[in-house]
Every structure is written in structure tokens, then in C-alpha cells.
Symmetry: C2
Subunit: 557 residues, 2 copies
């Protein structure tokens, strides 16, 4: 059995959403869990209410008893090390009491980062928080909050509790509203401007009056980007969305162009969930909000059409598929395994070539073998030069040293090769004077061309077929020779030295080093589809050229 | 306002889970939604029951009324184009009736791929399906199923309905059990072998007797992989897990090494969810099961420690973060924007260099300018050669043509350059004889070195600082000159031709082409962190070398 210990939980910080569900998957805990996943966080969830809902509206709500909400919270917080929490739909006063009681009981004064999205009414107009519960949310929950994230109407509703109605019409209304909202108890307020009309003029006027207001130009171009200004439409003339963040000391405006899109279902849930993720990933509040607004904005812009009404955002835009899995105990070489599988037929035709079979039986025609070792001598010169090119492309002394050692090995191999050829009656002069066969030129020149054209990784891929293939041949023959009634003939086989040299420890150690190097290359910089296709192409070409090299020898007959 | 239409829903097929929740996030709809997200699918969910649950067990269950389950199903299926469905915890007979009724009513005979995970008892021993409901599940739900995915005890429970107990002890018991399970009505059966002890001998015996049994060696090495066999532990001697798939015609065994891990909470949910994803992504059943078992297996092996009991799988292992967002209407050049932001201070020091400012005012010392244009002549030779190297690294005729045109432009620019120099009293002989300044050598040789060392993308990055920077200077001066009370002096400025040439249409068109080319490069093969760091490094070096080029000219004084 393969023993594996779970890794320490550092890579995927755990975050919790306490909210309602959205059956159609675009909002509520579903949007939160998708957002958590897209941010590399581990998501837990406590359900406060179920909704039967889709892109056209909310068709039904099924509230959950407060004591079962408390039971869910206990199950999560007593077992999982939660680093951040967000709340969404809370439904009514009893639910808010229950949540505040459970969180306070467990965390006492050291509650993790808590982002409260004060959801009151759905985009489609459905009540998601009973009107009499707003007071509890403000008095009981807000004082625990790191941040609250109301939109215009929620902010107006909250502020109407304390005084006469405070309508929010423009950016300056927003700036006064955030100060009043902060007095409700949270550590910071993000007032979302999606329903407020703003222009760049408004932003510049505000900035001119308030020197301490910081502006984050999310979707707008920075200075010294005239070259992009020309190539893009002039966003400065378009209507803007401005979110206002206030933490009691400084005010930050997050400015981006307004997008006219119907894919806005779950925007608020997504934004608050993304803020929690960025906070637990170690960003400060301003940066967390900047990244989260960018994530949400792109989610709207890259949305696909789902449902007939206001469709969901695209939660998946910042992730891509990993082609080659990380090495694990059970599959320590996923990259080379995938590579061999990508080209299994030609690989097999190469490593179990008739040349090899006849050589192992001792029946290989002498002329074929002599032709092969002459051409192999010429090939080794390319092979050494390719490593020279690899040195020229290296960035570390350790890589330079590794490649240099291999060239020294090749030079030693050539000494042996010449001695070996001498036994077969071929002198060094004769070796040097051998005309290069097209198969040799094709293979050698292809390696050099690949190395000149691509980077070091392409060069390593070009080398791999030779290094690994001869290793495979050596091990295969060794394994076959060890079987009872084997077809391999070692005793009296004129080619036994050849077999022994590739099955031997020295060569196999070089293979192991090469395997580890290639595997590590795919771990350090996991190949994208385009890059992996390029690597497979080089690997495929070289295995075919290796096969062609032995075909050449056999075709003499 | 930026008008965006949602993209057609082709990239992220929608899938639905009908199951219970797991507050701690490792199983139930939470595991399903994470799995859907990791597979690039859009997840919707219908909740059949809530659980207060964590890695140590199930602390409470809150069932949902069947009519609200039906309402959730209607909300989803009537609005979202669901391509595949999985069911998990169904709780009781009424829930099963309700689900079967709703799905049959909506889909009639053309129900999407339906994978039924016949969840009966949690790993921790909690009842998740009332015993009297098993019969309904078999009689009503199984006939709709594309696939059912019981484990050993669920299979035993289901089969005990029809006859006397059928214990499943080994692989041959599994092979007879799948045939009996298929008679319950589903189109195929995947009997999971996690709780059955199996060895490679068992697999080989079965294969020897049943010629039609196909073996998928998930975690085991294929043939012609001796080089990996040596480098890895010999998995063939380890206990195995074998899942058996039967579709009425053929039997497939999915073989992988058994892992001893405590991170197995939610394994069944995850596997069935992953199978649905692979089916809707277009794979046939065997391939879908192969990919899904691999996903689940790696999820266990790469799990981090979460909770104190049986922790969840790692659902995120096949995804990586995308560094550069896709271009959108509001941000059409995310790559170049990020690049400039990565190095804003040096970029600004380059494009708003004192050399440029004095040149635009007409106050630049003549000696400085003459030194600059002499060195620029030498630099242009490097610049043309770099494009030659780019041609050598190109893979398409269109790339070859584009680079060739640029070399022709440089040659034309050199003609103008010589004429321009002649006006300042510098002959061609003098230009050619100019000793190369270290700043020129540093920049030119760095571009050549980068191009020789890296691939075409590295070379394009090395070219970018010059191409884009002079474009930025030209546009900046043009913009400043157009302002009332501008500091730029065009009339009588001895350097006016220089300004006009970089602000002019020809040069700006080349910049636009370059911007599009670079942006497209990041779209075609989105850079990994390592690659992006390399690109930023080259860009940073070249902007600094550009600044150094003008420093050199000014340092004459």
C-alpha cells in the first residue's frame, strides 16, 4: 500500500460562507464556492435558507431553522481552521441572532476576517431579508465585520434606520454615506456603485477637493500608456462604475468602465466571496478589494449565455487546466509517462526494433551492425554539439556543469567506440571518413535546428528520445535475458558488449538523471497546451528519427 | 457604456447535482460543485437534505420537503440547458418519488446523462438513505440512469433486495455482482473496489479467463516503460484498487495502487461528479470513468490536512491560476498593461527621459544629439540582425514575412538616418567608423544573447522595449504639443523631424502591429508564472538599457 500523509493545510486556506442557496448555481453559496475554488481556497458553507431560483427570478424560499444553522456552524468551526468568513442572505432576525451567537461563542474576540454582504432584496425584487431584521443585522452583526459591502439601495435602507431618508444619487453622496455607514460599527465599508451614475469628471472633481482620496483605476489606463490609449476606445468618455471604500482613515475609489451586460446574477455574492479569498491570501483591504472587483468585472465581461434571464458571471476565468499532474507517490513521473503514451506506437517500434531483436539474438548481419556503428560515431558528434548549445542556453552554473559532464561522457564513449570499432576492423581514419547517411543528418541536424530555434526546454526534449530510448532498450533486453527460456542469446553473441553497455549502471544512472531533469522541468514550469504540443512534437519526431536510424541499418540488406 | 453580449454557452456545459449538503465542504453538493468547477463545467444544484457534518462525522440532518425539491428542480431545468445530472444523498422514498416525477415530467424520454451514486450510509456510519427507500431507488431511479456507482456495501444492500445475501469478497464476486446490478435497470454499472482487497494476480487471473475483459492500468505502468519501472517502486507488488465497469456488453477493470490515506471524505461524491463532467465533455463511458478515477485518485494523493478526522480530497489539483486575463472589450491589452505596470518607474524614466524633454524643447545640446544618432546607427544594425534571428526561429511563412518587412523598414530607416546625419555634417564613413559605446554594445548584445538563448517569444520581448517605447515617446510629445501653453517647441526646433517621425503614422502603425502581436502571443500560449517572470525580466532589462542609451548621450555633458 502506498502510504500518504495529507500535506499540511497551508496552500488552500479554508473560508466559510454563511448564506442562502441558489439552485441555478449563479448566486448564493454556489457562487461563493465557485469563487473560493477559482481563488485556490477551500470552501465550507452554512446554509441559512434554500431558494428555488433561476436567471429569471426567485420562485421559492425555504428557510432553515436557526438551531440547525447553529449546528452547521459548530460542525464547521469546531473542526476546520477557518481563516475568513462571508455572510450573504440571512433571511430573518432569528437567523442573525443564531449566527452572531454561534460565531461569538466559538471565536470570542478573535473572529476571522468577516465580510458582510447585507443582502436585502434580490436583483429580481424578491425579499431575502425580512424588513424587521435589518436592525439586528446592523446592531449585532456589523460590529463583528471587517467589511460590509452594501449597494446603493441596501445602504439607503440601512441609513434610513437612524434618520430620515438619505438618497444616494452621485459620487459625493456615496462619500458621505460611507462615513455614516462606518458609524454602524464595521471596521470598513465598501459602498458599491453599480446603481449610481458616475463619470470621470465626477471622480476628478472629488479627487481635486479631497487630497486624501486614493483612486484605483481598475479598468482605466495608467499614465505612460499612450500606445494603448490609441489602440483602445477612449474609456475616459464612457460612464463609470465607482466603488467607494472607507476604513475610518482613508477613502479609496475603485474606478472602472460600466459594462452593459445581462450577466450580472450573483455579482454581489461573488464580489464579497472574492474579497474574503484575497484577504486570507494575505492582501491588505485595498488590494483585496481591487483584485476582487477586477475578478468580478471580468466575470461579467467573459460570461457565457446561461438561462433566459439575468445570467450568472463566469467564475472560472482566472483558472486554466493543468495538463500534467504534479508527481505523487503512486505516479512519480507523470510527465514522461504522458509523453511515452502520446506516441506509444512509434516508441515501441523504436525500442523493440528488429535491429535490437536480431542484435540480442546474435543474428544481426555484420554489415548492418558495422554501418550502424560508423553512423553512430558521426551521430555522437552532433550529440556532443547539442549539449554545447544547451550550455550556451543555460542560466545556472549547475546546469552548465551537468551538460559539461555529459559531453565528457560522450568523449569517453567515443574512445570506447573507437576501440570497439577497431575490434571490428574499422580504423579511426575510416570512421572519420565515413560519408554521413541521410538518416544521420536528418536526426543530428533536426536536434541542432530545434536547439537553435527554441529554448533550453525544446533542446532537452530533442535529446530525450536518444537518452531514454537506449536506456529502455538496455533494460528490456536485460529483463528478457533474465527470463527462463529467453530468446536473448548472451553467450557467444558478438554484440554482447553493446547490450551490456546500455543495460549497465553507468548508462542507467545517466537515464535516471535525465528522467528526473525532464520531470522537474514540467514541475517547475507546467507546460501549457501549446507548449506541451510543441514538446510532444519534438519527442515524436525524434523517436521516429531514432527508428529511422535503425531502419537505415537494416535497409542495407 | 461598454456593450457586451454574453458568449454562447458552449465552453462551460451545465451540469446538475441533486444531493445533500456537507457543511464542511468535502462531500455532497459542495464536493460536486468544486469538482464541476475544476472540470470547467457550470454547476447547478438541487438540495435534498442539509447535513451538519465535518471530517469526524455527521452531527445532524435536516430533510427538505419533497415539494420544495421539485420546485428547485423546475427552477433549474426549465431555465438552464442541463447536459448531465448526478444524484447523491436522496434521504427517503418521498424524495426519490419527487425527483423521478420532476425529471420524467420535464425531460420525458430524453433525460441527459444521469449518474446515480446510490449513497446509503456515510463513511462515518450515518444513515443517508432510509432503508425502505432502497427499493424505490432501484425500481424508479435506476431505469433512468446512464450509470450507477455503488461501492461494495451499497451493491450488497441493493442485491439483497432480490435474493439472499450476495457478499462481495473479491474480484470474481465483483464481476458477477455487476451483471446482477445491471439487471436492476441502469445502462451501466461501476462497482467501486475501494473496500475489496485485490492484487495484480487476481487481475491477471481474471484477464486470463475472460478474454473480453479490458484492463485500464490507471496507476500502473504501461509496457515499454522499463526506465520508469526502475525509478519507481514496483507497484505490481502492492495491493490494488479495482473498479469494475459493465455496460451489458463489455467489462472494464480500472486498476490502480491502493493508497493508505485519511483524506477520503467525499470520494464517492467526487467520482460520480467527475464522471458526469467527463461525459458532458464528450468522452465515452470508459474514458470518462478512467479520467474521473484518475482525478479522484490524485485528489486523495494530493490532499492537504483539513479537519481532525477523515479530511476532504484536494479538488483543485488539475487547475492552475491564469496570470494574464483574456483580452476583453474593456481591457483589450491586459498583457502589455501588466507588463508596463510591472516596471512602471523605469518605463517612465525611459519614455520621459530628460533627453526627450530637452529634444522636444529644442534645447538639447547638439553634441549629445550627434552622439546619440551615431550610436543609434550602430544600434539599428543589431536591431535588424535580431529580426534575422527571429526569422530563423519562425515556424510560419507569415511570421517570416512580417519580420522580413521590418528588416526592410530598418534598411529604409537607415537610408533616412544617413541623410539626416549628412544634414548634421556626419558622413556615412564617419558613421561606420564610430566606436561603439558600451551602452550600445550592452543593449545590442543583450538582445542577441536573449534571442540565441531563448525561443521566439523571448526575442519578441527583447524587441518590445524599443518598438513600444519610441512609440510612447512620439505619442506623448504629440499630445503635449497639442496642449495650450505647451512646453514643446516645434517651430524652429532643430530636432522636429525626429519627433515627427516617431509620432507619425508609419511608425505608429508598426507599434500597433507590435502591440497586437505581443498580446496575441499571451493569448495563444498564456504565460505560466515562470515564463511571465522571464518575460518581465527581459522587458525590464531592455527598458533599463534604453534609459541607459539616453543617459549615455546626456552624460557627455
Amino acid at each position: 500500500m502506498i502510504m500518504t500523509e495529507p500535506l499540511p493545510a497551508t496552500g488552500q486556506p479554508a473560508v466559510l460562507t454563511i448564506a442562502g442557496t441558489d439552485s441555478s448555481g449563479g448566486a448564493g453559496i454556489q457562487a461563493d464556492l465557485k469563487t473560493f475554488t477559482a481563488h485556490g481556497c477551500y470552501g465550507a458553507s452554512v446554509v441559512t435558507a434554500l431558494t428555488a431560483q433561476n436567471t429569471t427570478g426567485v420562485q421559492g424560499v425555504h428557510p432553515i431553522p436557526p438551531d440547525f444553522i447553529q449546528q452547521q456552524i459548530r460542525s464547521v468551526v469546531e473542526d476546520v481552521d477557518i481563516r475568513g468568513i462571508k455572510t450573504g442572505m440571512l433571511f430573518d432576525t432569528d437567523v442573525i441572532h443564531a449566527i452572531v451567537e454561534s460565531l461569538s461563542a466559538h471565536y470570542r474576540t478573535s473572529i476571522p476576517s468577516l465580510v458582510v454582504d447585507p443582502v436585502c432584496v434580490s436583483t429580481s425584487g424578491h425579499t431575502l431579508l425580512q424588513p424587521d431584521a435589518i436592525d439586528s443585522m446592523v446592531k449585532e452583526l456589523f460590529p463583528l465585520a471587517t467589511l460590509i459591502t452594501p449597494n446603493k439601495s441596501e445602504a439607503e435602507l440601512i441609513l434610513s434606520l437612524n434618520e430620515t431618508a438619505t438618497p444616494i444619487h452621485g459620487l459625493s453622496d456615496m462619500l458621505s454615506a460611507v462615513k455614516k455607514l462606518l458609524e454602524c460599527g464595521p471596521q470598513a465599508v465598501l459602498l458599491k456603485g453599480g446603481h449610481v451614475t458616475t463619470t470621470l469628471n465626477d471622480v476628478e472633481s472629488v479627487a481635486a477637493i479631497n487630497a486624501d482620496v486614493k483612486i484605483v483605476r481598475g479598468g482605466l489606463l495608467d499614465e505612460n500608456m499612450e500606445i494603448l490609449q490609441v489602440a483602445e476606445q477612449d474609456l475616459s468618455q464612457l460612464p463609470l462604475v465607482v466603488d467607494v471604500l472607507y476604513d475610518g482613515t482613508s477613502t479609496t475609489l475603485f474606478v472602472r468602465p460600466r459594462i452593459d451586460s445581462t450577466s450580472t446574477h450573483g455579482t454581489g455574492c461573488t464580489l464579497s466571496a472574492a474579497i474574503v479569498c484575497e484577504l486570507v491570501r494575505g492582501h491588505d483591504l485595498v488590494e483585496a478589494v481591487r483584485l476582487a472587483t477586477q475578478y468580478t468585472h471580468l466575470g461579467i465581461e467573459t460570461a457565457e449565455k446561461i438561462g433566459s434571464g439575468h445570467g450568472p458571471l463566469n467564475h472560472l476565468h482566472p483558472i486554466t487546466e493543468r495538463l500534467i499532474p504534479r508527481p505523487t507517490t503512486s505516479v512519480p513521473h507523470p510527465f514522461i509517462r504522458t509523453l511515452i503514451q502520446s506516441n506509444a506506437t512509434i516508441w515501441k517500434a523504436y525500442v523493440q526494433h528488429d535491429f535490437v531483436v536480431q542484435l540480442a539474438k546474435g543474428t544481426l548481419d555484420r554489415a548492418c551492425f558495422l554501418h550502424f556503428i560508423r553512423q553512430d560515431y558521426l551521430y555522437l558528434k552532433y550529440y556532443a554539439r547539442v549539449y554545447g548549445l544547451l550550455i550556451a542556453k543555460s542560466t545556472t552554473f549547475s546546469a552548465i556543469e551537468d551538460a559539461t559532464k555529459i559531453i565528457m561522457n560522450v568523449i569517453q564513449e567515443v574512445v570506447n567506440h573507437k576501440a570497439f570499432c577497431a575490434q571490428w576492423g574499422i580504423s579511426e581514419q575510416e570512421l572519420e571518413a565515413t560519408p554521413e547517411s541521410p538518416a544521420t543528418t536528418a536526426y543530428g541536424a533536426y536536434m541542432m535546428d530545434t536547439g537553435l530555434r527554441g529554448d533550453a526546454s525544446a533542446l532537452l526534449m530533442a535529446i530525450a528520445a536518444c537518452l531514454l530510448g537506449y536506456g529502455e532498450v538496455g533494460l528490456w533486453l536485460k529483463k528478457e535475458a533474465a527470463k527462463p527460456d529467453t530468446w536473448v542469446v548472451l553467450e557467444g553473441n558478438p554484440y554482447v558488449k553493446w547490450i551490456e553497455s546500455y543495460a549497465g549502471e553507468d548508462y542507467q544512472n545517466a537515464v535516471k538523471t535525465g528522467v528526473a531533469l525532464l520531470e522537474n522541468m514540467a514541475v517547475q514550469d507546467p507546460p501549457t497546451p501549446a507548449r506541451f504540443a510543441e514538446w510532444c512534437n519534438i519527442w515524436g519526431r525524434c523517436t521516429a528519427l531514432e527508428k529511422g536510424f535503425w531502419d537505415m541499418a537494416m535497409n542495407l540488406l
